[in-house]
Symmetry: C2
Subunit: 572 residues, 2 copies
């Protein structure tokens, strides 16, 4: 390694070390010099159609590979992306937002350049980003830049949340010391002490006492880096286990003791009873937003819960700080005596998500939400990534039993519609990279399958062009139910403002540049759908396929949406 290298080389070498192989973003005149260094660093430049979508894509990429990055330009670019950065913050995706900024001379002389407010004030956009990122670095001095970069990247890993790095044009090629590159960036270790051990012992005592223990895997489990440990724990204890919507897809759903999403008040009465009768709920990576907890009804009772969070263990009402989940779970695995934990001699009779098939539906009948998702689940293969956009798709996907190593994106808390199309682009790219580096559970081909409603699709539609341009393996199911059905359930069932412009959706692949023989299909009946699924077209892995499913605008999956819809209908 040379003793010095250019600042941008340093930055990109660091990203590469952390497992990033592609960078999302859009060129702009304050980042062009920076982009010169992307491909030479061995990184693929994606080139998104706009910055919001680039942010969504970097987030989707990060959720599959652990970390992602995007590059935007000062002002206009970075502000266009800021909603995506906020979403990554809310749902813990480790996204590095790099902004190419004007030369320091322009900044310091308060020159009235473009992408400013013509008032000489250059710091507004960074200030805005402080609200949506866990760390920020404004690189101003080549001597300190490497340490600044390292520090924010460590924060990014530590919190699995976005960070913000400003690179002035005139520093892109500044020489910096290569010395620090020799030390890998990693999450700082816990210094073991007696206090932590005493808390772990408390947890273990609770576990030994429990007669009817259960496990709830919530979605921050991924961000906390404990997915494998938790899966082992679930597998090992054989205790009945549920996930939240956010947690679904993280651990092996084919384990016999996995029972899908715990739906709180909306769940099967038998499940609710068992969950509520449990005397111990071990909950990993809790994320108790109302939307991720069925209006708080799936949150374990405090008096029986032990929560493992980013920095704390909560045992019932007590909070023990500075015991990160990663450390706690590893200590737990080590210290737990399996012979002393509860085992279910007769495993309880608890429902599991089931696939469905076409025998139970009439072939000329319209497609209905009540069975669609369980039928669609039959097409899933190990390694597929499934995305269900906010709306009926997001709820529907929660009913799907998933093969091993299938990852699921469902609406959690941020719920920015249009997100899933950008995220699908990023996730599909991450998936391809993992496969090509033989780092994908031995799976050699897999698809990214996106279910998205018409209203959401319109938000970010141009990213289909990026999916095509990058030749990604995406199957897109467009649910055409004539507008914002999820909003109709909330308010304005028949209101004109919940309509959207009527597009000819299946023309999308052609318009966005796909080869003319790209597979598309239009589906109105169960018979149509059976034909499409039976055609084998969706199994051919390569490139884009698109299926438009027409559904009634007042049809929704059973659960929170149907509950809301009933209230709306009653109010008519």
């Amino acid at each position: 390694m040379p003793a010095t290298l250019k600042l941008s080389e340093y930055l990109f070498a660091r990203l590469k070390q952390l497992g990033i192989d592609s960078i999302h973003g859009v060129p702009g005149d304050y980042n062009l010099n920076l982009l010169d260094f992307v491909e030479p660093a061995g990184l693929h430049w994606v080139g998104n159609a706009n910055e919001l979508n680039a942010g969504y894509a970097a987030d989707g990429y990060a959720r599959i590979k652990g970390i992602g990055a995007l590059i935007t330009t000062f002002g206009v670019g970075e502000l266009s992306a800021i909603n995506a950065i906020a979403g990554a913050y809310a749902e813990r995706a480790a996204v590095v937002h790099i902004v190419g900024t004007p030369p320091r001379e322009s900044q310091d002389s308060r020159l009235l350049i473009h992408h400013t407010f013509n008032d000489g004030e250059y710091r507004r956009f960074a200030q805005m980003h402080q609200h949506v990122t866990v760390a920020q670095a404004n690189l101003r001095d080549p001597r300190t830049a490497p340490a600044q970069i390292d520090s924010v990247l460590q924060q990014c890993l530590l919190h699995s949340r976005p960070v913000y790095i400003e690179v002035p044009v005139d520093l892109v090629a500044a020489p910096v010391s290569a010395e620090q590159l020799k030390t890998k960036i990693s999450i700082p270790n816990v210094e073991p002490n007696a206090y932590q051990e005493s808390v772990i012992s408390k947890v273990i005592d609770k576990i030994y006492e429990a007669k009817q223990p259960i496990i709830l895997v919530d979605g921050e489990t991924r961000a906390l880096g404990i997915v494998d440990d938790v899966e082992k724990f679930v597998s090992h204890t054989k205790w009945p286990t549920w996930s939240s919507g956010f947690g679904k897809g993280l651990i092996d759903e084919t384990l016999p003791n996995f029972h899908g999403i715990y739906r709180g008040n909306f769940d099967d009465p038998k499940t609710q009873r068992f969950f509520n009768d449990s005397d111990l709920v071990l909950c990993f990576g809790p994320h108790f937003s109302t939307t991720n907890s069925f209006a708080s009804s799936s949150i374990p009772k405090t008096q029986t819960a032990i929560l493992f969070t980013d920095t704390e263990i909560r045992i019932n009402t007590q909070v023990f700080r500075d015991i990160p989940a990663r450390y706690a779970v590893s200590r737990l695995s080590l210290k737990l005596d399996s012979s002393r934990i509860a085992s279910y001699t007769t495993y309880p009779d608890l429902p599991r998500d089931q696939s469905d098939n076409f025998t139970s539906v009439s072939s000329d009948g319209p497609i209905k939400q009540d069975r669609l998702w369980r039928i669609l689940s039959t097409i899933l293969r190990p390694g597929d990534i499934v995305l269900g956009e906010t709306g009926t798709a997001g709820y529907g996907c929660r009913e799907m039993p998933l093969p091993r190593h299938t990852r699921l994106f469902t609406p959690v808390t941020w719920l920015s519609i249009g997100y899933m199309l950008g995220a699908a682009q990023g996730a599909a790219l991450a998936q391809r990279e993992l496969i090509s580096s033989s780092n994908y559970h031995g799976i050699t081909n897999a698809r990214t399958i996106l279910f998205i409603g018409d209203g959401s699709f319109q938000m970010t539609v141009q990213e289909l062009g990026t999916i095509i341009h990058n030749n990604l393996d995406v199957v897109l199911f467009l649910i055409n139910n004539d507008g914002y059905t999820i909003e109709r359930c909330i308010h304005g069932l028949k209101a004109g403002y919940n309509d959207v412009a009527a597009w000819r959706y299946l023309q999308a692949p052609s318009f966005f540049g796909a080869s003319e023989d790209t597979y598309t299909a239009s589906v109105r009946t169960w018979g149509d759908l059976e034909k499409v699924l039976g055609s084998g077209e969706l199994d051919r892995t390569k490139g884009l396929k698109m299926v438009e499913i027409f559904m009634d605008r007042e049809d929704v999956p059973k659960g929170p949406l149907s509950y809301l819809l009933q209230l709306q209908t009653a109010g008519q």
Copy 2:
């Protein structure tokens, strides 16, 4: 008028009073109840495909009608729009950004609802908006809400810049006093005093002394509300007059003493000499960003300049505060003795922008930037609105001589690519409303003509669906030059990151739902273009027409872009 009305009725009645007839935006679950009141208030709900585009559209609408509005939802919606709000701030468009927020109960109890960061903190988004708006109101109390609304709307008018209003769901229908509605909102008057009169006298003295006075109309002239007065002044004095790019289209370009944009170092030597030799430059609405002033070279010399700004008059190096342009210009008109001002007995020989025609080009030759814009100017009719997106189009449009009452949007300072497509939607709607209320200079039909490059078009393409859905009269010229040509001029002439995905652009109208007989044309040669322009298709006012013009990716209009391109080519 009833003594009380609902808060949302109050808000919308105020917008209506200010001349707003349509509201842009996207539904979301914290604004649905608010949307119930839009149409009953006599306002048209546009229903955009996404919030960034809605913001651009509201900005375009505001620049034509004086003020515009959009409604978004808490968090996700408002942040998606924030780059558009920033642009409206930078270039002074009066945009009212109304955000539907969660019920006060959720906010006050820090409930972990969706569209938050799952941390109980609800104020981040409003804090971010403080950086990009001139006034903010968080409506929390029905007793004070009317005064809060009035106060921010007055600020919006006063500064011609965006404001931000939060309406919690549970206050939408709260009864408020109607009393204040009787008093119209207006910009506060100046209290005349001797100080102002003495400054006006100084200005008048300078005018009387001047031997070679000239006028520069910059773009804040619109925001300052002095367009008519300035036009009268130009017409009356007959002094040689130029505009900036920002100012072009504001005053009658057919006046014999109007000479187009003053291009500083890039202008005809004769023009530069005359401009620089002038002993007095009256400059209205100055906006001296580097991009609006040809890298500062078109800024009048301080020692000969008098600037009329939002709150000041600057006479040479002296700054006289608290004399708003509107007041100053009206006093000037009143007090100036025309018999004592310079008149050009022999009007100087100064170039003007000229149209061009097909006689000078070869019919099978490729379309070139050097003549395209002057040829395209022949299709313009009084009342048309012309938009030239950042890129070659934005520079090209500056060469076009404009008929009376033609308004032009060119890149000024914010330069957020994709803006012009959204702005075209808003401007076309504003234009239609002005025509239908017989408030458009007696013009009964006119078009909105958008010139946009492929890269910019991709950014915001879904708004074509909104243009179609709202049946707006838009002629769209897509400049297909294979990527970001403007970026190629700046850096990375041949770099892959300046490419964009290759779309089949002319399929856009069909994809986005236009009737199948929508006029589209593809143009590669001058002969092709002549045929299209001669067909009369673009003159039929109704609906969308789209023409794709293929051009070389390294061809740019003469001026700053060709200068930059030369540097790039030399650097190869």
